[in-house]
Symmetry: C2
Subunit: 70 residues, 2 copies
């Protein structure tokens, strides 16, 4: 799974902490997702898409070949 959360965040010019507060998770959770340490829950994905007013698919790209980091 890939994501361009940092790009969306840069567009809005907000910090990880601000985004974290907006979607009600810890700052470290946003950090971990941007760094690719893990994928968010479906709920958090919805919250992020809601915040940026886009679809989940606009932020996250699922790679069916799926070797987690290729």
């Amino acid at each position: 799974m890939e994501n361009n959360l940092n790009v969306w965040r840069a567009k809005e010019d907000i910090t990880q902490g601000e985004l974290a507060e907006a979607v009600d998770v810890s700052r470290q959770t946003i950090n971990a997702i941007e760094r690719g340490r893990y994928d968010p829950s479906l709920e958090l994905a919805f919250k992020l898409a809601d915040y940026f007013e886009c679809s989940i698919e606009d932020i996250f790209e699922y790679d069916p070949t799926g070797s987690s980091d290729e």
Copy 2:
């Protein structure tokens, strides 16, 4: 979080077991999601949307008011 996975499944006329195999999870996982016992991971949500050739938002509806069962 609400979903109409059973409707999509009915459209394709497949069993929980068949869907489970198609998206590579256990039958109980599909069952649990349909029954609302928990939400799928983002990865599984992508696999399901892929399978039904629709968007995640077509299957799952996030309720921001969020009291889990209202």
